[in-house]
C-alpha cells in the first residue's frame, strides 16, 4: 500500500511537473494575433485596409461625434440630451479636457496608425493577387483624409485655413514599440497640408476607378481634393476638380421628391463616398437623435433655426426636420438599430463647390449660377438670379446649410469663411477645438495647447 501510493504520487507529480514546465506557463493568446507577427501576408494587409475603414465608423468619428458636435457647435443641431461634454459645445465653452474632443483626437490618430501599418507593410507583400499600388493608395488617401479632419478641427487659424496657422503632430510610420510612440511637437499648418495633399495626389494617381461600394477610388479622391482646395481658398483648383467629378457622369442627383431616399435607401446615384454600416457593424446615430419613446436617448434635435432657414416649398425640409413621429429629428438617420449609412461625399457638393469657387473668382458667373440652381431646382426652389458674386457666395453658403444639414459641413463653412464671430462666438479662439489636455500633459507640453485654452 505504502509503495503503491508513493509511486502513484511520484508518477503523478513527475508527469504534471514535466507537462507544466513545458507548456503551463508558455501560452499564446487565443482571441487576437500577437502584434509581433505583424501584417505579413496579402490577407493580413487586406484585412488591415478594411480595419482602416473601420476606424472611420467609430462613434467618435463619422459614427456620430465628429460631425454631430460640429452641428451643435454651429447651431444647426440643438443639444437636448444630458452629456455635459456635448453641453460644452452647445454653450460654446469647450474645456481642454472635454471627453469628446479628446476621444475624437485619439480615434483619428488610431486610424492614422492603422493606415501607416498598411503603407509600411504593403510594399513587401509579393503575392501576385495583391493590388499593391491600389492598396497603398487607399491607405494613403485615408491617412490624408484623417490629417485633413484633424487640421480642420484642431488646426488652422480662427480666421480660416491656409493662412499660416497651427498644425498637428505628424506620424507617417507605424507605431510598433513604446519608443515609436514618443511625443512629437505640432507641425505647422503648411506642413500638415503638404502631407494631406501628397497623400491625396498619390491616391488620385494610383487608385483604381472602382473599388466597390463604400471604398475610395480615383473619383472619391478627386472630389475630396476639391473640398480641400475650397478649404484652402484655392478656388480655381476646387472648381476644376469639382468639374472633373461632375463631368465623369458617374453620379446623378436624385429628383427632389426623392431627396429622402438618398438616406432611406442606401447608395443612391448621387453618393460619391458613403460610409457603409450594416446590422453587424452599427452606429448609434439614430439612437442619439431619437427620443426615448422610440428607443433613443434624445441627445440631439434639429435646431429650430435650421427649420426656419428653409424657403417655402423646399422639398428637403421634411428630410432635414421631421414633422411626423418623431418630430424635429431627421430622415437622414432613422435606423435605431444602427445601420444607417453616413454620407461623406455627394454630387451636390461638387455643384456647390464649383458655384462658390467661380463666384469667388468672379468669372463664369452664369456657370456659377447654373451650378447653384442645379441644386436649388432639385430642391423644388426657384432659380437664384442675382449675379453679384458676393450674393452668389452668400446664397451658396446658405444652400449648403440646408443641402448638407446633419452632414457636418456647416462648421467647416463657418471656419473657412472667417464667420466664427458672426455665428455667436464672443471668443473667436474657440474656432479651433482645444488640443486634448491629456495630450499636452502626456507630451510634457511638447505638444502646445491652442491659443487661449
Amino acid at each position: 500500500m505504502k509503495n503503491k501510493f508513493l509511486s502513484f504520487m511520484i508518477l503523478g507529480m513527475a508527469s504534471l511537473f514535466l507537462h507544466s514546465c513545458t507548456s503551463n506557463i508558455e501560452l499564446e493568446p487565443f482571441t487576437a494575433l500577437d502584434a509581433s507577427t505583424g501584417f505579413k501576408t496579402r490577407q493580413d494587409v487586406e484585412a488591415a485596409i478594411l480595419g482602416s475603414y473601420n476606424s472611420l465608423q467609430n462613434a467618435n468619428y463619422y459614427g456620430l461625434r465628429i460631425w454631430a458636435l460640429d452641428e451643435i457647435y454651429s447651431g444647426t443641431l440643438t443639444h437636448t440630451g444630458t452629456f455635459p461634454s456635448f453641453a460644452q459645445f452647445a454653450t460654446k465653452a469647450l474645456l481642454a479636457n472635454n471627453t469628446e474632443t479628446t476621444n475624437v483626437w485619439n480615434t483619428i490618430y488610431a486610424g492614422i496608425n492603422r493606415t501607416n501599418n498598411v503603407i509600411a507593410s504593403a510594399p513587401s507583400i509579393n503575392d501576385p493577387a495583391f493590388l499593391k499600388e491600389n492598396a497603398i493608395a487607399e491607405a494613403r488617401f485615408l491617412r490624408g483624409f484623417h490629417y485633413f479632419n484633424l487640421l480642420t478641427h484642431y488646426g488652422g487659424k480662427p480666421e480660416g485655413f491656409n493662412k499660416g496657422g497651427v498644425g498637428v503632430p505628424i506620424f507617417l510610420t507605424p507605431t510598433l514599440t513604446s519608443e515609436d510612440a514618443a511625443p512629437k511637437a505640432r507641425a505647422t499648418e503648411a506642413d500638415v497640408w503638404k502631407v494631406i495633399l501628397e497623400d491625396v495626389d498619390y491616391a488620385i494617381t494610383n487608385l483604381r476607378d472602382n473599388n466597390g461600394i463604400g471604398r475610395v477610388n480615383k473619383m472619391v479622391a478627386t472630389a475630396m481634393k476639391a473640398r480641400m482646395h475650397l478649404m484652402r481658398e484655392e478656388w480655381q483648383a476646387a472648381s476644376d476638380l469639382a468639374l472633373t467629378v461632375i463631368n465623369s457622369k458617374r453620379y446623378t442627383l436624385l429628383p427632389g421628391a426623392s431627396y429622402e431616399n438618398i438616406y432611406l435607401n442606401k447608395n443612391s446615384t448621387e453618393a460619391i463616398w458613403e460610409l457603409q454600416y450594416d446590422i453587424n457593424n452599427v452606429n448609434a446615430i439614430a439612437f442619439h437623435y431619437y427620443p426615448t419613446a422610440n428607443g433613443g436617448r434624445n441627445e440631439v434635435t434639429s435646431a429650430t433655426a435650421l427649420r426656419n432657414l428653409h424657403e417655402a416649398n423646399d422639398l428637403r425640409l421634411k428630410t432635414n426636420v421631421t414633422t411626423g413621429v418623431p418630430a424635429n429629428k431627421t430622415l437622414k438617420f432613422t435606423r435605431v438599430a444602427g445601420d444607417d449609412n453616413v454620407q461623406i461625399l455627394r454630387l451636390s457638393e461638387m455643384h456647390l463647390i464649383r458655384a462658390e469657387a467661380l463666384a469667388r473668382l468672379n468669372k463664369d458667373i452664369d456657370v456659377s449660377l447654373v451650378e447653384l440652381n442645379t441644386v436649388r431646382k432639385r430642391a423644388g426652389l426657384a432659380d437664384f438670379t442675382d449675379k453679384t458674386p458676393a450674393k452668389i457666395v452668400e446664397a451658396v453658403l446658405k444652400e449648403r446649410i440646408i443641402e448638407f444639414a446633419h452632414e457636418g459641413h456647416r462648421w467647416m463653412d463657418i471656419r473657412r469663411t472667417n464667420a466664427v464671430a458672426a455665428n455667436g462666438f464672443t471668443q473667436v479662439f474657440r474656432a479651433l477645438w482645444p488640443i486634448p489636455e491629456r495630450e499636452v500633459d502626456t507630451s510634457g507640453k511638447l505638444i502646445a495647447q491652442n491659443d487661449q485654452y
Binding site: F5, S52, N328, T442
Partner: protein
Amino acid sequence: MMKKFLTMMLLVTFSCVTSYAQRMITGKVTDASGEPLIGANVVAKEDANIGTITDVDGNFTLNVGSIVTALVVSYTGYNTTDVKLTTEANYEVKLQVGQLLDELVVVGYGSQKRSDITGSVSQINSGNIEKLVVTSIDQAMQGQAAGVQVTSASGTPGGSVNVKVRGNSSISSGSQPLYVIDGVPIAEGNFSQIGFGNQITNALANLNPSEIESMEILKDAAASAIYGSRAANGVVLITTKRGASQKTKIEINSYYGSQNVWKTIEPATGPEYVALIQEMVRNRTGNPASLPSSQGLRNLDADPATYPNTNWQDEILQTAPISQTDLSFQGGNESTKFYLSGSFFTQDGIIKGSGFDRYSFRANLDNNVNKRLKIGNSTSISRTKSLRINNDNNINGVLSAAFLTASHIPVYNPDGTYAKDVNASVENPVAAYKEPTNDAFNNRILSSIFGEYNIAKGWNFTTRFSLDYIGFEEFRFSPTTLNSGAGVNGLAVEAGATDLNLINENFTNYTNSFGKLNFDILLGTSFQSNESRTFFGQGENFPGNTIKTLNAASVKKDLSSGRSAYGLNSYFSRLNMNFDEKYYITASLRADGSSRFGANQRWGVFPAFAVSYRVSEESFLKGNNTISDLKIRASWGIRGNQDIANFASRGFISPNNNYLMRAGLAPTSLGNPNLTWEERTDIDLGLILGLFKNRLSFEIDLYEGVTNQLLLNRPLVGSSGFTGINENIGSLKNRGIDGSMKIFIVDNSKFTWKTTINASAFESEITKLAGTPFAAGFASWVQEGEALGAFRGFRAERIFQTQAEIDALNTTAREKTGRATALYQTSLTRPGDIQFKDLDKDGVITTSDQEILGNANPKVFGGITNEFSFGGIDFSFFFQGSYGNLLFNNTRAFAEGMNGVFGQAGSVKNRWTPTNPTTDIKYPRAVLGDPNNNRRTSDRFLEDGSYLRLKNVNIGYKIPSDVTKRLGLSSLRIFAGGQNLLTFTKYTGFDPEVSTFANSNTAPGTDFLTFPQARVVTGGINIQF
C-alpha cells in the same frame, strides 16, 4: 475545530501503536455555566495518541492505560486545562473562556500554535460569523479584523465587496486578497459580460458563510509571502467545517429577516420641479416672459400648481424579506468522519426587481486508510441566481431613474402605458424594475481530494488535486415597453462564461526537536492551470414580448466568444525554528513562474524572514501576576501581485475591426516583453501583550509596505495611435498601524462579558507614477505625492451676489491676461452663480484652477464587539465604522444640478434667487444649461463620509437542556437580531458605505445613484439533534 480535526488525525494514526493496558475513565466537559462543550479534546498528557472528543452531551470515555497521570482538555476559545487522574473513574471538567495561546491557527500549507506565529495573522471564528446576516464570506470580515478594510460597494443583493488588507497596494492591478479555501486558491470577481451600470457580481457570494469554521487573514509578508506572486494584497485562508468522531449531530439553523431602506431623500414635488424649470428657462434667456417651450422643453409651460406629484422613491423601494436555512450532519467514527450540509439563502432587494438566491451543498470527508495514510475530500457545489437591475450611472437604472425622473411625471399614462418624460431620456422607474428580465446564474464546483502520508515520525507528505469551476450564465430581455427595447422591437442577450482552475499541490513537512531547538521544514510545489471561455449573443426584433429567447429574434447580432488561459508554476519552502519556545525564526521562499508576464521576466522569487521573542517565557516574567504574555516580533518580506489580464504583456492585432461585412484587423495594443509582477516589500513590527492571565490582551502592529514595479498603463500621446502601454513603473507606499484589544470584563460562571476592539489607520502615498497624473471616476485623481483615492477639482469659493462683482473680476482678467475678450469665468456668468477660486491667480478660471480636495481613505476604521452571556441568554452587539474619509456625492451633481430636465431633490428650494441671496455654495441659482458650469467637479459635492454603524445585534436564548431533552433535541436556541440598525453619519446621500466604482483602486468613495445598504431585522432558530 481545526485543532480537533488534527488531534483526531493524530489519534487515529497512532492508535494502533499504543499500549494495551486497560483503564476506562469517563467524564463530562462543560463551560463555566455548566453547558456541555461538544467536541472538546481530551488527550493524555503523556501520550498524544491517547485521546478522544466529547460527544453532544459533553461526555467522553477513554481508555487511559496504566502510564497516564493526567488529561489535557482543550476546546477552541477556552483555556486548556490539565486534569490530574486520581483513582476516580469519572471527572467533571469546567473550562474557562480565554487563553488563546495554544489555539491552532491555520497558516499557508499548515497550521501553527498561536504562540508560535511570527507573522501578523487575524483570525475570525465561526462564532463571529454565525451571528451576522451576510450573503458572502468577504462581508463577514467587516469590522472583525484589524487592518482589514471591508466595504460593500452597494446594497445590491449578492453584490461586490471590496476587501483591502493593509491599504491598497496596487493602482491598476487587482487589489483583493487571495482567497484559499481548505488549501485551494480560488477565483473571485465578476464573470458577467452584460453591463448594468457600475455594480458587478461577486463569485464569492456562491460560498455559504455558515460552512466556515474559521478564517485567517494573513496580513504581513512573513505570513503570506509563501503565496508568492499572489500575496501582495494579503491572503484569506478559509477552513470549512469537518466531521468528528461522535454520534451524528444534526443541526438546523434558520433565520428570517425583513429589510428596509434606513433613509430616503426628499425629492422636489411636481409643482416645485415645474416652477424650478420655468425659473431655469427665464434665467437662461434673461426674459421674464420666456416659457420652457421656447427652449424646446415640452409640457412645462402651465401653472406649476396644476402638475401632479409622484414620489419615485416610494414607487421603487420596498420592505423585502431575507432568509437562510442550513441543514448539516456532522459525525463519524475513528476512521471516517464527515460533514455534510445543504443551505438555501434567499433575499429580495430593497429596490424592487432585485434579488439573490443561493443553493449550496458541501461534503467534507476524511478517512484513515491505515495508520500512516489519511485521505479526504472537500467538495462544495452551489448555484446562485441574481435578479439584476440596471443601476448607478445608467439612465435605465431603477434607483437612477427614480432620482433622475422629474416628479411631475405620473407613473402611468391614462391609457395604462408607462408615462415617460418627453424632455429627458430616462426610463420610467417603475418600468425599469418591472419590465426587463435580467437573470444571472452562477454555478460553482469547488472540490479537492487529498492524501497525507506519514513517512516517518514528524515527517509528512501531502498531495492535493483541486478543481475550481465557475459556470456563469446570464440572460437579458428588454421588451418594447422599455426605451432600450422600443427602437429594436425587443432585445435579448444570452451570455456565458466558464472559468476552470486545476491545481495540484504537493508538499512535505518535517518536524523535530533537538533539545530545546524545535523546527519545522516545509518544501513544496504547486501547479495551477486556468482556462476561461465566454460566449455572448444578442438578438433583436421579437414577435412581441412573450417569447424572450434568442431563437425568436429575427435579427441576430453581436455573436461572439472568447477564450483565455494562464498558468502558474511554483516552488516553495519554509523553515520555522524556535529555541525553548522563546526565540523564533521563520524564513520562507517561493518562486513563481507565470504565463501572464513578458517573455523576458517570467519567474520571480519572493522571500520573507521573521523573528519573534516571547519575553514572557523568560524567567523574570514567568509566573508574573500582571503580565501573562509578552511577545515582540519583526518581519520583512517581498510579495507579488500578478492580478492582471492574462496576456497583458502582449501587443495585439485584433480582429472584429470589420467593414463591408468583411473581416478587418487593426493594431490595438503595444506589447511589453519586460512586463512583470508588482512587488510589495513589507516591514512589520508587532507587539502582543496579555495581562491578568490574558483577561486583557493587545496586539499592535506597525507596518510599512512599499509596492514597486506597479503595473500601470503609461499614458502615451494619443497621436501615436495608442493611448497607453502596460509598464512596471509606479511605486506606492502604505504605512499604518493595526491594533486590537480583547477584554474579558466579567467572566464568571453566571455572567460573561467580552469586548473586542480593533482599529486601524494607514496612510497611502503614490511615490512614483508613469508620467502625468490622471483622472479616474468622477472626481478622483491619481498623482505622485498624493494618496491613492485622492479627489481633485475646483474650489467653490462663494456665490456671486451682484453683477458688479463679476464685472470687476472680468476687468482683472483682462488686465492680467492682456486679452480684450478675457473673462473670469464665462460670458453668461450672472449673480447667483458660483465663483470658483482662481488657484493659479492668472485672473481666469481654467482647468489648471483645480487642486487636490482630499481623499477617500479613512483616518481610522474599525469595529467594537461586545458579547454577553447570562445563563442561557447570549447577547452581542457590534459597531463598525470609518472616520475621516471623504465621499464624492455625484448624485447631488444631478439631483441638485438645477441645469436641465433631470428630477431634483427637495433641497433645491434652498437655491439662490434674488429674494433668497444665499451664500451657501451648495445652492447656486438655477439656470438651464448651466452656462457657468456650477456643476463642474468641485468641493461643492464633496462630503464627510465618516460613519458609525450598529452593524449587528444578536440576542439568543438557549432553552435549558432538561426541556430540550424532553423534546428529543440536544440543543435548541432561538435568536433575534438586526443588521445596520443604527447609522450615525453626516453624509447626505443614501448610505455612507458606498462605492459606485465597485472595486476600483483609483476611484473609491464615490456615490452615484448607488443601491443603499438595507436595515435588517431578523429572527431565527437553531435546533440540534
